[in-house]
């Protein structure tokens, strides 16, 4: 435990001023806030809300697919469910969650008092929030003047020409394009803010090669966001021009090209995967060292691998398009570029294992999730190699094998890592520890449910089950696999309920955490929990990557090894 009399951040333990004023003033405070911590909390709550919404949509999907020839929902409703599930989880859950983490933690970790542009920060959040509301308004607003369409129902890639007015009447496609257009601007603002903050707001002594790996990964994610979101935004504008002003970018009946949409979408869509996974790496990079009681193995290699992933990930998009009839040379190129990604990601996996190797592993809930994240990411990477071999991908593409693969990445790796992060930083944010017993129930149930669902979903893919099907014939032999997957899905949902209960319960009744409950080493633990509005009473000065380690071990500081 760091000593309060120590210089770094000069721990400010002044009790928080009791809330004064009416509820309206309290609410007004949250709505007009430009404090990075409050905005971070808003982002995370927003993301958790949509996690529940998207999860409920997934449950409808799983109920529908439990039995062959099932008619729990109509085909139209089913199509809306998977479109909204995908869109929600990527744009309204994944990205807000990572920006919430970034908002809350990056300034604290680099010893800053706020983000570089606090007002832009607030604008970004509210744009994102408005986009989410707009998307979900489609359920009631979609019947508007034209009397057709409701929530978007053509899949989250919105492949042309299914999105033209010929095939998608009503406003479903417009809701999709415009709401993501709005969240896209919010995302760009947040990315610019994080880049600027990381580059220009570091405290004294915090060189670029000393910032926590989490900050490096958020920097990489934000840079990638700037490059990747723009083509999507442009494509959405073109789509709306097609639909309402008679442009013919994607309208094949008028000489437009459906393939161009696919290129636009995937040159956004593939980097998007890395936008989501890099912060998950960052979270693991903070938690694994602390719970192994060792520094991250190969800091420099980790930074290099992250930057490498950013660059390589911009050249792999067409591996989502191996079946569109590219030339054999193009297929070979994208096979190679995709396989190369295995090298930097491999370095990361090896470094995490090496960080744990020889350590003193404490399996508190955050570490349970973070350690499992490593092996899930390994497994999803291996199925990724299978998909990168394009001849096999011609079979697997758009099958349930792909569904299993990317849910392994998105749930097994990203959600597990982000949950680890929530368990880890919850005491910092609220000043209270999350309940360990509930946490372990959550972990084990979620783990079992996850494996039941996504391990078994690989099989119907091998047996020829394509994605996006609302039902299937019994003779196809997919029924038992789907039944297992559905049961696993329900277990995950139940586990998530325990998690939400744990959040509420521990937020009100959890044990007092103190400023540094995990005996950690980065700057956010040098201030009180929750941190005061100005973060640090005095601006910290650091001399190594683990400033609090140096404080706690004055005779054996990190400075001598860097």
């Amino acid at each position: 435990m760091a000593d309060a009399s120590l210089p770094i951040g000069s721990l400010d333990l002044t009790p928080e001023a009791l809330a004064e004023g009416t509820f309206r003033e309290y609410l007004h405070g949250w709505v007009t806030t430009v404090d990075h911590k409050r905005l971070g909390i808003l982002y995370v709550l927003y993301a958790l809300f949509f996690l529940v919404v998207g999860g409920a949509e997934a449950m409808i999907i799983r109920v529908q697919l439990m039995y062959p020839d099932n008619h729990f929902v109509s085909p139209e409703v089913y199509n809306r469910m998977f479109t909204m599930h995908g869109t929600t989880m990527v744009f309204l859950m994944g990205m807000p969650l990572l920006f919430g983490f970034a908002n809350y933690l990056v300034p604290l970790m680099i010893g800053a008092r706020d983000m570089a542009f606090p007002r832009l920060n607030a604008l970004s959040f509210w744009l994102t929030a408005f986009g989410g509301i707009l998307l979900y308004y489609s359920f009631i607003g979609g019947f508007g003047l034209y009397g057709q369409g409701s929530a978007p129902d053509v899949g989250w890639f919105e492949y042309a020409p299914l999105t033209t007015r010929t095939y998608s009447q009503g406003h479903a496609v417009d809701f999709w394009a415009l709401s993501l257009f709005v969240t896209g601007w919010g995302t760009l603002g947040a990315a610019i803010n994080i880049i600027t903050t990381t580059i220009s707001m570091r405290c004294k002594g915090m060189t670029m090669m000393r910032i926590p790996l989490f900050c490096w990964l958020l920097l990489c994610t934000s840079a990638l966001t700037l490059v990747a979101i723009t083509p999507l935004t442009a494509a959405q504008v073109m789509l709306e021009l097609d639909r309402y002003l008679g442009a013919h970018f994607f309208d094949t009946q008028a000489g437009g090209s459906a393939l161009i949409w696919a290129h636009f979408f995937w040159i956004f869509g593939h980097p998007e995967v890395y936008i989501l996974v890099l912060p998950a790496f960052g979270v693991a990079n903070e938690i694994i060292p602390v719970f192994s009681r060792k520094p991250a193995f190969g800091y420099t290699a980790m930074v290099a691998a992250s930057v490498g992933i950013v660059f390589i990930s911009l050249g792999v998009w067409a591996h989502h398009m191996f079946t569109v009839g590219m030339t054999s040379a193009a297929n070979a190129f994208f096979t190679l570029s995709t396989m190369i990604i295995a090298v930097p990601t491999g370095i990361k996996v090896f470094n995490w294992i090496a960080t744990m190797w020889g350590g003193k592993l404490r399996f508190a809930t955050p570490m349970l999730f973070a350690a499992t994240f490593v092996v899930h990411f390994l497994l999803s990477g291996l199925t990724g190699i299978m998909l990168s071999a394009s001849p096999w991908d011609w079979q697997l593409h758009n099958s349930y094998f792909v569904i299993a693969h990317f849910h392994y990445v998105l749930v097994g790796a990203i959600v597990f890592s982000m949950l680890a992060g929530i368990y880890y930083w919850f005491p910092k944010v609220t000043g209270r520890l999350m309940d360990e017993k509930l946490g372990k129930w959550h972990f084990w149930l979620f783990l079992i449910g996850f494996h039941l669902t996504f391990d078994f979903l690989h099989v119907p893919g091998i047996l020829g089950m394509p994605r996006w099907v609302y039902t299937y014939e019994a003779s196809r032999g997919w029924a038992s696999w789907n039944m297992i997957a559905s049961v696993g899905g329900f277990i995950q949902f139940l586990a998530s309920g325990i998690f939400v209960w744990n959040l509420l319960y521990s937020g009100l009744h959890g044990a007092e955490a103190g400023p540094d409950p995990w005996d950690a080493w980065t700057l956010e633990w040098a201030t009180s929990s929750p941190p005061p509005e100005y973060n640090f009473a005095v601006e910290p000065v650091v001399a190594s990557r683990r400033p609090l380690w140096d404080l706690k071990h004055p005779s054996d500081t990190d400075t001598q090894y860097e």
Binding site: L162, A258, G298, L336, P391, W392, V469
Partner: protein, 409 residues
């Protein structure tokens, strides 16, 4: 590491016995896998049961990649398991373990090894890509143009001037008699994808882009698959059936399909079904085509209504003739074609030899008079998003037009 895993495993066997046990385990797994994936027609479109060269090469590719990834999993996953088990600690003292910051040598090693693996994988994959995708087309190959529609398939045989829907027939290709099928993939509306896993990987049908693929199935029978790209409400019910015929059967079939569609005398009864319906799915009974189909062309000349033998004054034939009138005088002909009549619509499936098909609605139900009546009454009852409207016929007309269409053998 392996030693450690075995020591901890529940099979507390002495080391001498481990090898045979492992061999039995692996052997039985392989046996199970081969029983699971037999290379013959199956209602389960299993990509691990290939019967055509592209699918076989893709299967070889998959086994190669599986082998490599399994090796990586054992090494890396094993290290993970070892670390997690070995270094977990309940020691709550303040003593910190040795602080290791990294090791350039080790990191170089685990950068280079993956690079080598990637090179090997890439070169193997690239060979396979070129071998499948750039396969030369032999002169005697059968050409088929596959057109995807919302939500059915159209197959055109340009060498024979034949257009059929939803059930594709191709000849078997054997080493003795090589005759692969080369397909051009197109779309009439939105993006589709043609996927029959036992025959080949999928290739997309894109409206602004013509694609190619080829198959050379070795085993006769019916192979199933379905659309592989979301194409609208009924994407799930856009099923594919590929009939691999022996060369003789194929010749008989294509000759029959070249004839104009003429209603069959006496075919008006609800004929025995040629396929059985099982657990909601259509299961082909035999590998061969039903025998009664081969002679279908010969009865085509009998246009009159008076030669149905058995009693009731030619009643069935009259029904068929009446059904033809219903078909030709209603909106049916705006979308459907029956060669040899005035019906030449192009929007819906070609019905020239509709009665020779096993299924209707793109493979969703067995083709018989009852199902056909239900379909024409309101296609959305069987297939909610089908683009065909309810035809507003009365029950008599429904019966008649269904009898007429099923008689088009």
């Amino acid at each position: 590491m392996l030693h450690w895993m075995l020591k901890r495993s529940t099979f507390a066997l002495r080391s001498a016995r481990r090898l045979p046990v492992a061999a039995v385990l692996v052997g039985s797994l392989l046996f199970a896998a081969s029983a699971w994936a037999e290379n013959k027609p199956s209602p389960i479109p299993n990509m691990f049961a290939p019967v055509s060269t592209p699918a076989e090469q893709e299967f070889t590719m998959s086994m190669f990649v599986l082998g490599i990834t399994l090796g990586i999993l054992v090494v890396v996953g094993g290290s993970w398991a070892y670390v997690v088990a070995k270094y977990r600690s309940t020691d709550s003292s303040d003593v910190e373990p040795p602080q290791i910051y990294g090791s350039p040598q080790v990191e170089l090693a685990w950068t280079i090894v993956p690079v080598v693996i990637v090179v090997v994988l890439f070169l193997t994959t690239a060979r396979m890509i070129f071998s499948i995708q750039d396969h030369p087309r032999p002169k005697n190959a059968l050409d088929i143009t596959v057109v995807g529609h919302q939500f059915w398939w159209e197959y055109r045989y340009p060498q024979y001037g034949v257009v059929v829907a939803n059930e594709m027939h191709v000849p078997m290709s054997t080493p003795g008699q090589v005759r692969p099928t080369f397909m051009k993939l197109q779309s009439a509306d939105v993006w589709h994808s043609f996927w029959v896993p036992q025959l080949a990987g999928k290739v997309d049908n894109i409206p602004d882009h013509i694609n190619d693929m080829w198959i050379d199935p070795h085993v006769p029978g019916v192979y199933v698959g379905q659309c592989g790209q979301f194409c609208g409400v009924e994407h799930a019910m856009m099923l594919i059936r590929v009939y691999v015929d022996t060369p003789d059967q194929f010749q008989r079939w294509i000759t029959n399909q070249q004839q104009p569609g003429v209603e069959q005398p006496g075919a008006g009864q609800n004929t025995p079904q040629q396929v059985i319906r099982q657990q909601g799915g259509v299961v082909p009974t035999a590998l061969e085509l039903p025998a009664n189909r081969s002679g279908a062309g010969s009865g085509a000349s009998a246009g009159g209504g008076d030669q149905t033998g058995a009693g009731s004054a030619g009643q069935p034939m009259n029904q068929v003739v009446a059904g033809k009138q219903v078909f030709l005088q209603n909106a049916c002909i705006n979308c459907h074609a029956v060669q040899g009549t005035n019906a030449n619509g192009r929007f819906g499936p070609n019905l020239t030899h509709f009665g020779s098909r096993d299924t209707l609605g793109s493979g969703i139900v067995v083709n018989n008079v009852d199902n056909l009546k239900a379909w024409i009454r309101n296609p959305s009852d069987l297939k909610e998003g089908a683009l065909m409207p309810p035809m507003q016929l009365d029950e008599t007309q429904l019966e008649q037009v269904s009898l007429y269409l099923t008689s088009l053998k």
